[in-house]
Chain length 354, copies 2
């Protein structure tokens, strides 16, 4: 198998006593919500800290779109809410991200564009197996996540209401809104406009399409005022063009085109209401949540808008809703600036203390 990383992760399986801090959990033949199955499926992960004797200090923190587990460590560290001295933090990788089973690392017949459609629900089925079968954990102190991580967070709470004590989804929704879907249609069309994509059968990455994908994404990822005030200078970029190339194109050129499209499918079809048992009713699924919920939105987020997030939070029993006061748009929740990160950290600490 080939992936987008240099060194393959060590495979681990249910019942192993290895307790690795970084690895790929063997899901075997993994049957998906669609009825398709992935054979020799794997769920990559990284952990921080130690599981305590009573196995009561676990936190699950799933990755967002296109990120790897090592890209999202900003809220983890001594003195932070996700303190590895206190908690055992599990970061499972999104299916399709190049570390977990993905178009780029799966053998035929499910290789490349033949990779089956994976839902957010499927991701949480896989993560639940990792948490219970490999780590032997039956109770989770907190599930949290940004963006697509928030989608998985909601899914954990709805799929396993008796297992999750707290949730903190931020800058994400339990169901993808129509406008958000249109934004994703745009980046998908930009990538696949490149004939070098070849319907997914490329041998060389379709970089022209991936750069277009990145440039379209750039307009959505931060707010109008972020660009007006040139806040990208705080990230070390010297000009708008430098930022478009050095931040956005660089971010996606590291990835595999089919992987980007696979995760995009997952995002477009995210719908907590489709969880078995809820009959397609989002409100019922949200209303089933028993975890203590802290829901956050970025004030200037253009595709996971505060209004959409607050609407959903209003159906989660007892949820508290907070707006991150920020000009960083959707990226307010991505650990890029200390003010927003501190806001999130403070509220996560309060949630964990409750």
């Amino acid at each position: 198998m080939s992936g987008t990383i240099g060194t393959p992760l060590t495979r681990v399986a249910a019942g192993d006593a290895t307790n690795l801090a970084e690895g790929a959990f063997d899901l075997g033949t993994f049957v998906l919500q669609s009825g398709s199955a992935l054979r020799e499926a794997q769920l990559a992960f990284k952990t921080h800290g130690q599981l305590n004797a009573s196995k009561s200090n676990a936190i699950v923190y799933p990755t967002p779109y296109s990120a790897h587990h090592s890209d999202v460590e900003w809220p983890i560290g001594p003195g932070k809410a996700l303190d590895p001295e206190e908690y055992f933090i599990i970061v499972p990788d999104l299916l399709g991200n190049g570390l977990s089973s993905s178009p780029s690392n799966t053998a035929a017949p499910h290789d490349r564009a033949h990779f089956p459609n994976v839902t957010v629900y499927d991701n949480v089925v896989a993560q639940h197996r990792l948490v219970t079968e490999y780590f032997g954990i039956s109770r989770i102190a907190l599930v949290l996540g940004w963006s697509m991580g928030a989608q998985q967070t909601y899914q954990w709470a709805a799929s396993h209401p008796g297992m999750v004590a707290r949730i903190a989804p931020f800058c994400g929704t339990a169901r993808t809104t129509p406008h958000n879907l249109v934004f994703l249609e745009g980046i998908k069309a930009a990538l696949t406009a490149d004939a070098a994509w070849m319907g997914g059968a490329y041998e060389v990455q379709p970089t022209r399409g991936m750069r277009a994908f990145a440039r379209v994404y750039a307009g959505w990822g931060f707010s109008q005022l972020f660009y007006k005030q040139e806040l990208y200078r705080q990230l070390g970029f010297s000009s708008l063009e430098d930022f478009l190339v050095g931040f956005w194109e660089r971010r996606f050129l590291k990835r595999d085109a089919n992987n980007l499209l696979a995760m995009l499918w997952t995002w477009q079809h995210n719908d907590l209401g489709s969880t078995p048992g809820y009959g397609g009713e989002l409100r019922r699924a949200l209303g089933s949540i028993r975890a203590k919920a802290l829901v956050m939105a970025g004030e200037t987020d253009l595709y996971f808008t505060p209004a959409d997030i607050e609407y959903e939070a209003s159906y989660v029993p007892g949820a508290s809703f907070r707006v991150i006061p920020s000009l960083w748009g959707h990226q307010a929740g991505n650990g890029l600036n200390p003010v927003d990160s501190s806001f999130i950290d403070v509220h996560l600490k309060r949630l964990l203390a409750s």
Copy 2:
């Protein structure tokens, strides 16, 4: 010459007594702000109503991005603000739109991707020549326009402060903001990701790239709530996909790819401050405006935001600023729904009566 229309417009020239209602004004060798020149240049136009004896009832209403003069007639008609019984309304076509001189209808050496860069300032130079040299008009009752039409409206007021009595720019800015520029970078990258574009040397339109361009545009053109509330149904579309294809892809597949890119360059580089005499200072250019100004913004416009528009209006002496209360995003100003159109009409009538 070949254009994107079936029948070529009749050529007219300075001093002609033809007074055609639809034609193409001969600009001869037209020297651009950049120093390049277009030879045998033409400015297409259409007029409505009759010029009165004192030549005091002229209105100039330039076209927005990618539109032809026949696409923007919604505010014109008996009983409306732009009443052809009362006013002589001139609709000049944007350079690059396929009717005025454009990549698609210009002979070598300025054909296709070799078409020179044209500014908003250049457009108004050409329009001023049409108005004065062909129609013999020295005073304009109103200049108005939506989106790129608003850009040209501001330019008229700054270029000819003694000639323009009133202006009504709506859903547009006098200088393109950085975020707006990024949005345009995205659609440009989507179109040019299609190898069939061939750097502009195509013989057949790069339709895959043009469809991608359209899909990206779709997310920006209307608001998040427009999509959530499925307001496209009011336009006769039966589903989101029907709307993406039937409204957006249809809109741009009618056009020529190089024309779209030429007008996009004009838009990205729009800056009233670059008007000769203002030394790059936008505020000075805005402050020079003597026309009575009504400035409108769409409440949910994602790329010409109310905040950006209000900021500029605050530097125009005596300008009044109005927000169109609408979920139709930027398209609030495009005559697509009767409520928004009526709001604009009412305010235009008040302006014209003042």
